[in-house]
């Protein structure tokens, strides 16, 4: 029995900043100081504050250490773990107040959050099934199998108002109901863990931090629709998640929580993994199932919908990881509990992956209906370097940009659609005044062009043509009529593409055209990039009043484009300048500017 638990994050973010070495050092140091029997080291999943990794939390006092280094470990062990004196200089700044150390749950980052899907992430060791059971794990499965009929389970989901967290927001209970109604000798339960949106990583976090929640929910789904086999389609680029899933499946089988005759009820269910090679289109449901079958991942037309003819031609349900992670809690706490959170048509909570120009990069889970301002300013800690908010991009390559005028809109499925964006999987990329909106649209379109599977023409060729026009805009070569062609193409691709990838690909362009058309116009008519991003439209200059003639810029210029001698004004030759910005970065007097 241990008197203290030291939780070290073993998620992808903290692992890449060195948390594995921290754990080795910690165990080593505990041994040296004779505390191995008193203090346990627990590897957990993600806490959400990825920007501050490696992260370490010491219980029972819940002290939060951020950006821990190996050389800090001996001090933490001798001071904190032995003598109970937290090493203040290493604590997360937000928790240190003049009156003492604040609890983590009272910091701005966590105070407004409500963690359901992420409730065990960063709390339990995902590689030990007992820890999951200790927090109430597999209770929901027990309840479902012994007290409820499949129809009861589906009714609970319908009453809860849970909608798919993967993008489109289809009611989960309805999906299950349709699959149950279709009789077949075999049905399948699938999980979409092919998280492909740039900037989204909530599913990875659940897989890494709480894999048993997914297994439990899929088993519940199997019981509800009458399936005996489940597949988790997970990207091979998530090696930690794949390992933890394998361990979790193994442990669940050993405990007979997966397999034949679960809890002696006669119900049998098994889950297998299928690794995807990382094609974005395989996140689309029909392409995903084609890929599980062993074929090239390309979408096929719907109907028939998966609930009628899905995997191997059998009735199938497909939900994403975050959706499943909510289900055991809904079963245990009741649909009313879940439906009490959120807005009228979007119930519960949503996880967002904060990225871009924001202080607290990481994962946050908030009730539906929280405003963008609350997420960015309060939880996210605002925008770094005193810059101004310009727009937020939600929904990845399928979504759109939300401008300042909608900063206070309550975020839910319907509101986002109404303003030309979408929930998507919940990636939220924040942009400030130094981001060019044409460039952002181009970035997302480059991604779509790269990932288009090529099966249908509107998507394969249409997106390529759109990208070419955007490229001309950013180079200052576009004519006014190009914008009209771009817009026309957007609507054409949207209306005629075969699957969701193509149908939503124009969204980043359409939403930036809608809210930032003046920026497009500046590129076309004035040949200027207002944010100072598009290189072809920029020139660098040296301010004669500020230049001290220190020669630093000239010495660092890789193209030898700067001339000038000591204590004399330097000048940039626009013919030679490659616009790399090194001079601006190096100048100590702020004399270099671009326009």
């Amino acid at each position: 029995m241990y008197r203290s638990h030291v939780l070290v994050c073993g998620g992808t973010g903290c692992t890449s900043s060195g948390s594995q070495q921290i754990m080795v050092k910690l165990r080593d140091e505990l041994g040296k100081q004779g505390l191995s029997e008193e203090v346990s080291v627990v590897q957990t999943g993600c806490h959400g504050l990825c920007a501050l990794g490696p992260i370490m939390i010491i219980y029972p006092d819940a002290t939060f250490y951020a950006m821990v280094k190996e050389e800090d470990i001996p001090e933490i062990v001798s001071e904190h773990l032995l003598k109970g004196r937290p090493v203040e200089r290493l604590l997360y700044d937000e928790t240190v107040t003049p009156t003492g150390i604040k609890a983590l749950s009272d910091t701005d980052f966590y105070k407004k959050q409500h963690r359901i899907a992420l409730r065990n992430c960063g709390v339990i060791n995902p590689e030990e099934i007992e820890e999951y059971i200790g927090t109430g794990g597999y209770q929901a499965l027990g309840k479902v199998l012994t007290e409820m009929t499949p129809d009861d389970v589906i009714q609970v989901l319908l009453d809860s108002g849970l909608r798919g967290r993967g993008g489109a927001g289809f009611p989960t209970g309805m999906k299950w109901k349709l699959a149950k109604q279709n009789d077949a000798d075999q049905k399948y339960v699938c999980c979409n863990a092919d998280e492909g949106d740039p900037g989204a990583f909530m599913d990875r976090s659940v897989l890494e931090g709480d894999p048993h929640a997914l297994l439990e929910a899929m088993t519940i789904a199997g019981y509800a629709i009458g399936a005996s086999q489940g597949f988790i389609y997970v990207r091979a680029e998530y090696p930690i998640a794949v390992d933890r899933l394998k361990i979790a499946i193994e442990q669940a089988r050993e405990m007979e929580l997966l397999g034949d005759d679960i809890f002696g009820t006669g119900f049998s269910f098994n889950i297998d993994l299928r690794l995807g090679a990382g094609a974005f289109v395989c996140g689309e449901e029909t392409a995903l199932m084609v890929s599980i079958e062993g074929n090239r991942g390309e979408p096929r037309p719907r109907p028939p919908f998966p609930a009628q003819k899905g995997l191997f031609g059998k009735p199938t349900i497909l939900n994403n990881v975050e959706t499943y992670a909510n289900i055991p809690q809904i079963i245990l706490n009741g649909p009313e509990w879940f439906a009490a959170m959120g807005t009228e048509k979007s119930k519960g909570t949503k996880v967002f992956a904060l990225g871009g120009k924001i202080n607290n990069t990481g994962l946050v889970e908030v009730p539906m209906g929280t405003t963008l301002r609350e997420i960015i300013e309060e939880i996210g800690g605002g925008i770094p370097n005193g810059k101004k908010f310009k727009a937020a991009q939600t929904g990845g390559p399928s979504g759109g940009c939300i401008p300042t005028e909608h900063y206070d809109i309550p975020i839910d499925y319907d509101n986002l659609l109404a303003i030309g964006s979408m929930m998507g999987s919940g990636g939220l990329i924040v942009m400030d005044e130094t981001d060019c909106m044409v460039d952002i649209a181009k970035f997302f379109l480059e991604f779509t062009v790269e990932e288009s599977c090529g099966k249908c023409t509107p998507c394969r060729i249409g997106t390529k043509r759109m990208l070419e026009i955007l490229d001309k805009v950013t180079k200052g070569q576009a004519k006014p009529e190009d914008i009209d062609r771009l817009e026309e193409l957007c609507y054409y691709v949207k209306a005629n593409s075969a699957c969701g990838l193509g149908q939503t690909a124009p969204n980043p362009v359409l939403s930036t055209l809608k809210y930032f058309r003046d920026e497009y116009n500046a590129h076309i008519y004035d040949k200027k990039c207002p944010a100072g991003v598009c290189k072809a439209l920029l020139s660098y200059y040296i301010d004669a009043d500020k230049c001290k003639g220190c020669t630093l810029c000239a010495r660092n210029c890789p193209a030898n484009a700067i001339t000038g001698s000591v204590k004399n004004l330097h000048v940039i030759d626009p013919e030679k300048c490659i616009k790399c910005g090194v001079c601006m970065e190096k100048c100590k007097f702020g004399a270099v500017y671009k326009k």
Binding site: M1, R3, S4, P60, G84, R85, A103, G134, F263, G264
Partner: protein
């Protein structure tokens, strides 16, 4: 595992450990002085005893046992402070593992302060 009882048994076994990782402000905090003076006079067995008792009896949701620094009364170490929300702090002095067990049973579970061991009984001048 074929029954819900087996699941329940694992849950109970693990619960006290996992629930230590909560941040419940309503919990009674038990602080054991673990500065150099405390350790030298035997605070570690006291700390471990209290921590074990709370966990063995599935009481982690009611009590949290942590260390604290020196409060300046080194001659009275090992010192244990009991902070129950809404009540006055009780300070026990010159504790041992056995006395700690008595405090756990009488005070923490029973609600009766063990007067003999408290600081107020030591008659400080």
């Amino acid at each position: 595992m074929k029954t819900l009882e087996e699941l329940k048994a694992i849950r109970e076994k693990m619960q006290s450990q996992v629930s230590m990782r909560g941040e419940d402000h309503a919990r009674t905090r038990i602080l054991v002085g673990m500065a150099t003076c405390g350790i030298a006079s035997g605070a570690r067995p006291v700390l471990n005893k209290l921590s074990d008792l709370v966990q063995e009896n599935h009481m982690t949701d009611r009590f949290s046992v942590t260390q604290t620094g020196c409060i300046g009364l080194c001659q009275y170490e090992p010192i244990v402070e009991v902070l129950e929300p809404g009540k006055e702090k009780v300070t026990y002095i010159k504790m041992t593992a056995e006395k700690a067990e008595e405090v756990y049973k009488e005070h923490l579970l029973g609600g009766h302060v063990v007067q003999n061991y408290t600081l107020s009984s030591a008659d400080i001048k």
